[in-house]
């Protein structure tokens, strides 16, 4: 309170717009709420497509090996698909677990530790996944040809 108003009862500025909240920490929780719904709708399409191509089409889980992954990531379409899926799923999942930690971990210290571990896991997994998608070599030198996708030998 400034020196001029000291001694007199503080009167709110009658011209100030009405605010429901006396204090505000911004709209962070509103934005995460919107993000969960927007990213969720996109993730349904991305993950159902991912599951269909990897588990249902062709020989399903049996066909998954290095050659299968290399064949997909030689294509920028699947690189982009998996990159968007990685980031959206990790932010969506991290925010979901953050909400659950906030709900059930009532002790301040425990809540802080759990959230720090959560954010550390987020950074490690997203960084690692992104690097792997973009630095991956489908035809590593010296690897047995029968483990590699067919286009490596041509």
């Amino acid at each position: 309170m400034s020196a001029q108003t000291q001694g007199a009862a503080a009167i709110a500025d009658p011209g100030a717009p009405y605010r429901r909240r006396r204090t505000t920490r911004g709209n962070f929780e509103l934005y995460t709420w919107v993000f969960m719904r927007a990213s969720g709708a996109i993730l349904v399409l991305l993950i159902f497509g991912h599951l269909f191509v990897n588990l249902v089409a062709g020989e399903g889980i049996k066909a998954i090996d290095f050659g299968f992954v290399a064949g997909k990531w030689a294509n920028p379409f699947w690189q982009g698909w998996d990159l968007v899926m990685l980031w959206l799923a990790m932010i969506h999942g991290t925010n979901g677990v953050r909400t659950i930690v906030n709900d059930y971990a009532e002790r301040d210290g425990l809540r802080l530790v759990l959230k720090l571990a959560l954010y550390a896991a987020f950074i490690v997994v997203v960084t690692l996944g992104t690097l792997v998608i973009f630095t991956f070599d489908p035809c590593p030198a010296g690897a047995p040809a029968d483990l590699l996708p067919s286009f490596c030998s041509t």
Binding site: G60, I64, D65, V69, A70
Partner: protein
């Protein structure tokens, strides 16, 4: 923050149990996602390493766990769409119960399509 809730706000029924199931399946999927990014990252090491680890996903126990994971994802996906409709569709809250049974129905249909195919891949011979 009170250490024990006074009274029970939620009384079971469809609204609460779908919320519980959404949380439980969400946490399951999240922890699988962490492991899944790590195992896929092995492609960066060598074809032999990746094939050895992904080979463990093809044994029957892991095959059943994958079926459970897909079930969790399918429920979380359909119930998530229901949640979006409850929040953004004017009549969503009125029909939230009906929509949960539609979610359950679509879940059964989807799993009926997925399970035979997946289990044949896991348990079928070469």
């Amino acid at each position: 923050m009170p250490s024990a809730p006074a009274g029970t706000l939620y009384r079971g029924r469809e609204g609460m149990w779908s919320w519980v199931a959404h949380r439980v399946t969400g946490v399951m999927i999240f922890f699988f996602l962490l492991v899944h990014v790590l195992d896929t990252s092995l492609v960066r090491l060598s074809p032999e390493t990746y094939n050895a680890i992904i080979g463990t996903y093809k044994n029957p126990v892991m095959g059943l766990a994958e079926a459970g994971l897909v079930a969790a994802i399918v429920f979380h996906a359909y119930n998530g769409i229901r949640l979006i409709l409850v929040d953004f569709w004017a009549k969503g809250p009125k029909y939230h119960r009906v929509m949960l049974w539609i979610v359950v129905g679509l879940f059964v249909v989807t799993m009926a399509g997925f399970l035979p195919r997946h289990l044949m891949h896991v348990f079928g011979g070469e």
